[in-house]
């Protein structure tokens, strides 16, 4: 297995970087842009509710919106954050396709404004409708193995189970479920939400996730660009560790030089 080229694929889009990043919560668009560049990410998710959908131009003091600050060559992944049910998510996805020209959509349906926990029922309903309309659907979802099977059967391009509550920086709290999801999936598994430090990303990749999506941990770091680079390295390290195949976990010590080697 070559350690340099290790591409993966989302709905026909060939990608090298396995770190996806979000564009929210940065203290300025300049800081966001610097972090996106140092992350090496090829796919950046953008909240449509933060975008001027009519692209009507901007007033004094309004430095445009996020679309004006994404580096050239980075693919946009519009998301439906703010949608509280399937109808809203579908409508927002259509607006996003009209504005950005991409059929990729990160589906988010979060009726509870406090936990922002994804609604499994309406996420599945919206996914079915969006796939039928020709979207490439990447659904943010609960770390539930059966839900992930349903989303895959509905024709989603990936599943994106949460590692912990969104924005919480709590790490890979759903590890046991993610292991099952990874083992069963026929589409890429992208661990989304909750990864707080680079080692969390490495952990997700080591257990076989195809990619991770990180936003808050980078955006709220004291030095977002440096943290973005750290996540890129950790994602890569975790991926290589997964490919390399770890040694067996043993109860006790196992001497690397057998004690009885002298007998032969």
């Amino acid at each position: 297995m070559p350690s340099s080229a290790d591409p993966w694929n989302v709905g026909g889009l060939q990608l090298t970087s396995r770190l996806l990043v979000g564009s929210g919560k940065f203290r300025s668009f300049e800081v966001m842009r610097a972090a996106l560049l140092s992350s090496g990410a090829e796919l950046v998710t953008v909240a449509l509710r933060r975008v001027d959908l009519d692209r009507a131009g901007h007033a004094d003091g309004n430095s445009g919106d996020v679309l004006d600050h994404v580096p050239a060559g980075v693919h946009l992944l519009p998301n439906t954050s703010g949608a509280v049910d399937a109808d809203e998510a579908v409508r927002l996805a259509r607006l996003g396709r009209a504005v950005t020209g991409t059929a990729l959509v990160k589906l988010e349906v979060t009726p509870d404004p406090r936990t922002l926990a994804p609604d499994p029922i309406d996420t599945l309903r919206a996914a079915e409708r969006l796939v039928a309309e020709g979207f490439t659907v990447l659904p943010y979802c609960s770390a539930d193995p059966v839900l992930c099977r349903h989303l895959e059967e509905a024709g989603c391009a990936t599943v994106m189970p949460l590692g912990a509550w969104i924005g919480s920086n709590r790490g890979l709290r759903t590890r046991d479920a993610i292991e099952v999801i990874v083992a069963q999936a026929h589409v890429p598994v992208v661990v989304d939400a909750g990864l707080g430090v680079p080692s969390d990303a490495a952990e997700a990749m080591e257990i076989g996730a195809d990619a991770v999506l990180v936003n808050t941990a980078i955006a709220v770091a004291a030095d977002p660009a440096l943290m973005a680079e750290a996540f890129a390295l950790a994602t890569r390290a975790g991926r290589l560790g997964h490919l390399a195949g770890r040694g067996e976990v043993l109860e006790g010590a196992s001497a690397s030089s057998p004690l009885t080697g002298f007998l032969t």
Binding site: F26, R27, D60, D112, R114
Partner: protein, 376 residues
């Protein structure tokens, strides 16, 4: 005939009465600062806690950053009318005051909105006095429908309505409803709300519940500090109200505002003056007691105080506001509701936020009804 108490009013009746918090012992204060909660809010608000304001502010800042990040939502009030059938002793729009009255036509409302959109705003709050003829349900629905293609987030702060009207407004694309109780003290409420629909304490208090049940997704509540003699009791009550609403209506975002009484045409004098330090204490303590509630701060407060409070507790701000109908395009044609203190432009407020390391959020919403599908 008064309305029957709503769900929260009954909840309040079942909980211990809110009075001026008892003097806090030093140990109480240490515990409250270490593990702040709704229950410890009276201690955090006590006079004894004031010497530890810096500590309180530091705790509040941590919670605000953790829950809301470095994003501050910007909005503008758009006064559509100062006609009013209610008599409230503290308000410049009160019925019977001999002031210049004006109700904008729907076209005039759209023209004001275009001006605000030109300044960057995508979140507007339509404000009016209480006049069910000049500012009728039909008028408000027409305003929301006319603004919908232009403004992704529309809220109203008007008189209270029936469930049907809230549902009509939601169907038209309304996102939020703001109803301040002003004071939760029933006796003082009766002394200051002399006539009109606003006189009915229970109707007003239950209106946020009716709005939430009709599908309104953002609720704004508040208390007017200085209206009752016990501002601390009102802060406790509004915090309880916010937390109760969040539990009862889990899909709904709740924001709280604690305006201090400002000079107005009413000539009203506040019963108590809330000092700047006490005001900071109130907002910091509110943040800790209701960590998930957005906190709104208007241009009533001066620039220096607003700039300080956004680093501690505030998550939503207005900017460049006018409080008179038509005040953005044709100022001076109607009485303002109250005088504003922070007269900076929206761009200047945004620049302040950026310099302080915050992201000024002009747009954090999308059209709630399918605008394109309704165009001819």
């Amino acid at each position: 005939m008064s309305a029957a108490p709503g769900r929260f009013a009954r909840h309040l009746l079942e909980t211990p009465p809110v009075r001026t918090p008892p003097a806090a012992a030093p140990g109480d204060l240490d515990r409250a600062l270490a593990a702040p909660s709704l229950e410890s809010l009276p201690v955090l608000l006590s006079a004894e806690a004031l010497p530890r304001l810096e500590e309180l502010a530091q705790r509040a800042r941590e919670v605000t950053l953790q829950r809301f990040g470095r994003a501050v939502r910007l909005f503008a009030p758009l006064y559509v009318s100062n006609a009013c059938l209610s008599s409230c002793t503290y308000c410049g729009f009160s019925k019977g005051l001999d002031v210049a009255r004006r109700t904008l036509t729907v076209d005039e409302v759209v023209a004001e909105a275009r001006t605000l959109v030109g300044r960057g705003f995508r979140h507007l709050l339509l404000v009016s006095g209480e006049h069910r003829v000049e500012v009728s349900a039909d008028y408000l629905v027409a305003c929301v429908e006319a603004l919908r293609p232009l403004v992704p987030s529309i809220s109203v702060e008007t008189q209270t309505w029936s469930d049907d009207t809230y549902a009509r407004l939601v169907a038209a694309g309304l996102e939020g409803v703001v109803h301040y109780q002003e004071t939760y003290d029933r006796a003082r409420y009766a002394e200051t709300h002399l006539a009109g629909w606003k006189r009915d304490y229970d109707r007003r208090l239950a209106s946020t519940e009716r709005a939430a049940e009709a599908g309104v997704r953002r609720l704004g509540i508040g208390a007017l500090l200085g209206l009752s003699g016990d501002w601390r009791a009102d802060v406790v009550a509004v915090a309880r109200h916010a937390v109760w609403l969040q539990r009862a209506y889990w899909r709904t975002e709740v924001t709280v505002s604690l305006p201090r009484i400002k000079p107005s045409a009413s000539g009203f004098q506040p019963l108590v003056a809330v000092s700047d330090a006490e005001y900071v204490q109130a907002l910091a303590a509110l943040r800790l007691a209701a960590p998930e509630a957005g906190i709104v701060l208007s241009t009533r407060e001066p620039a220096a105080l607003r700039d300080g409070l956004v680093r501690i507790a505030v998550t939503t701000m207005s900017a460049g506001s006018s409080t008179e109908p038509g005040g953005y395009l044709t100022p001076g044609t109607a009485q303002e509701q109250f005088s504003i203190s922070d007269e900076r432009s929206p761009a200047e407020v945004a620049a302040m936020l950026e310099a302080a390391g915050y992201d000024p959020v002009w747009k954090d919403a999308f059209p709630l009804v399918d605008v394109a599908a309704r165009l001819p």
